[in-house]
Amino acid sequence: MANNEYDAIVVGSGISGGWAAKELTEKGLKVLMLERGKNIEHITDYKNAHKERWDFPHRDMPTQQMKEDFPVLKRGYPLNESTYGMWASDKDSPYVEDKKYNWFRSHNVGGRSLLWGRQSYRLNVEDFLANKKEGIAVDWPIRYQDLAPWYDYTERFAGISGSKDGLDVLPDGQFQPPMDLTCVEKDVAKRIQKSFGGARHLIPGRTSNMTQAKPEEGRTACQYRSKCWHGCPFGAYFSTQSSTLPAAMKTGNLTLRPFSIVKEVLYDKDKKRATGVMVIDAETNETIEYKSKIIFLNASSFNSTWILMNSATDIWQGGLGSSSGELGHNVMDHHFRVGASATVEGYEDKYTFGRRPSGYYIPRFRNWGSDKRDYLRGFGYQGGSGRSGWQRNVAEMKLGADLKNAISEPGSWNIGMTAFGEILPDHSNRIYLNHQVKDKWGLPVLAMDVELKENDFKMRKDMQQDAIDMFEAAGLKNVSGFDNDYAPGQGIHEMGTARMGRDPKTSVLNGYNQVWDAKNVFVTDGACMTSASCVNPSLTYMALTARAADFAVQELNRRNL
């Protein structure tokens, strides 16, 4: 048993787990990082890294067999040949949909850090105040100022490119130079700025794709291949593998154990603290106990909560953290797939070079400053532009050489954007354990009971109309709005279910992400979010994790944990 003792256990190896491992090992702790899936070695395991479409048997398209094997994944864009094996098996790890819920998971070392959208934005001052001001859910136990130095710290290390725009709604950070906007985007930005009295801004996307190398970390700047999801052999975007894992490994303090499904946190009711975790080996089904002084749950929002629900059930029927009545509740995501597209006249002497793995961003402007709507909160837009290719409709063109020549040249410029809207924390949006359905390892699965509410539907109208209005104001042609429908989870920004708060009666975690009922257990992934903001959340998980890890080590040194 002695060999199974560590200073800290980190459950999960994705974006937040990688940060926890890095911070804790660098501060001298012996850390065991547990990952339920298989290992993926940086670069050497990116077997498709240099492949092109023609190198895949079906040109990277999903087969009918793949659709059958991945009934959930096929609902979204990620089912393809280049990332085959990277997404969790819907069959091995099922869940129950009381209401339709799209849960896209990756059970591998690195988790979804290898498969994320890489857009990296800070929450703003108001994001941390909105719940309190509006009487929604509970107040965040922290303010922007508490997190700002940790945003600085994580941005510098992760490598975020972006422009400094001086906007309160989207605080600036420690950025590398931004990726270029297209000539069309630059002009549309100017026209939007002018048409809306300087209240709306089109800026380069802030992304964890680096524009400057970090030779000290063996990372190269982005090569503009736009093959991020194949795994980047240049280490140009932030992933566990490219960034936090090598740093943690370098300390000599990290042990990484793949194929380790954490079944529960072990809890000592007399000392009111966790003593370790129970692991099921995913390959052998062997059960193993690991002990530690502190535990970081970074298993992804819902799986961290799943672990809590399965822990200390002899004391609390609903599991560790359920004494608040909020464990599993307040599920959030970003609702999207609504926006507009347009064609752009002119710019025929301009094109693009390179494949930019990012786009432009329009920060929130609704319910901001003096703007007031009939709903709460707001949304931001992500978009891109470019000249159309062979896929464009040339129905009038005759078959043969004419058609071939025509579509071998670029067509007109197009621009499009989709809005990402904030979903309010609502107690009735919840996940819970379904004991009737079991996964491959005989463990109970989650049931999803989540839906959009009135606030979201009202917001979606603006999300479409504002996009149309901006493109029309910019003088674009064929402006057409779209609402391609959305099911919760589709944003792959699942948040909440173990929220931070100021009162153990109404929240699962305190202001340092400690479980109120077991102070040596920290949850620093998306589960901890008290509200969702409308910006992509991963950067905030990084900052929260680094902050909590710093606090945890201080508390250990003070012998408080």
């Binding site: 092109e52 000539c183 000599g252 494949r355």
Partner: protein, 191 residues
């Protein structure tokens, strides 16, 4: 000594972190043989002729150079729904039926001019079909020539020859320029 203890010792000795076990990720999808597609060499030849009529060799390679027929067979066999598959296969029969009726020969044996004339006819019929199907909800079924044409374009422009010799492709651009100069006649980037 337990295996894990051994690993721990190695880790301590090298004073670096370690990973307990290794396995594969980014699973390589196996190539598909023609015999597993249900299509024959003759079918592939027919699809290549259809492809070449739509995207002929000019001063750059055409559909046959890119062997679109083989790629089409694999995609139809594995990626199409059963309905799409039967429309596609019936379409291949129908095409030869038309060439027999109208030109008294198999499609592959026709002259390039006649092939183009026949496919142009079918292209018009397919467009007509799309108009007729407008408003039909779930019952909407594509015309076989629409499937042919879409798949020829897709397999051609995602082929190595199509990307590199007809379009332009730089596998590692190394930089990004959002207002790169363009003059009429410059080829589109493959992407």
């Amino acid at each position: 000594m337990e295996r894990r203890d051994l690993l721990k010792m190695i880790a301590a000795a090298t004073s670096t972190g370690f990973v307990c076990r290794f396995a594969s990720a980014y699973d390589i999808r196996p190539p598909v043989e023609l015999k597993d597609t249900g299509f024959s060499n003759a079918d592939v030849a027919l699809l290549n002729e259809v492809g070449e009529t739509i995207i002929p060799r000019t001063n750059t390679p055409g559909a046959k150079d890119a062997n679109v027929g083989a790629a089409m067979a694999v995609i139809v066999a594995d990626c199409y729904t059963d309905t799409q598959k039967s429309i596609f296969k019936a379409g291949m029969k129908a095409l030869n039926g038309r060439s027999q009726t109208e030109y008294k020969t198999e499609f592959t044996a026709m002259s390039s001019e006649n092939k183009l004339a026949l496919l142009t006819e079918l292209d018009a019929e397919a467009k007509q079909h799309i108009n007729e199907q407008k408003g039909k909800g779930e019952d909407k079924q594509p015309h076989y020539f629409t499937l042919f044409k879409q798949l020829v374009l897709f397999t051609f422009f995602t082929s190595e020859k199509g990307a590199n010799e007809v379009l332009r492709h730089v596998s590692i651009p190394g930089k990004y320029d959002g207002e790169y100069p363009y003059k009429k006649g410059d080829r589109a980037w493959y992407r």
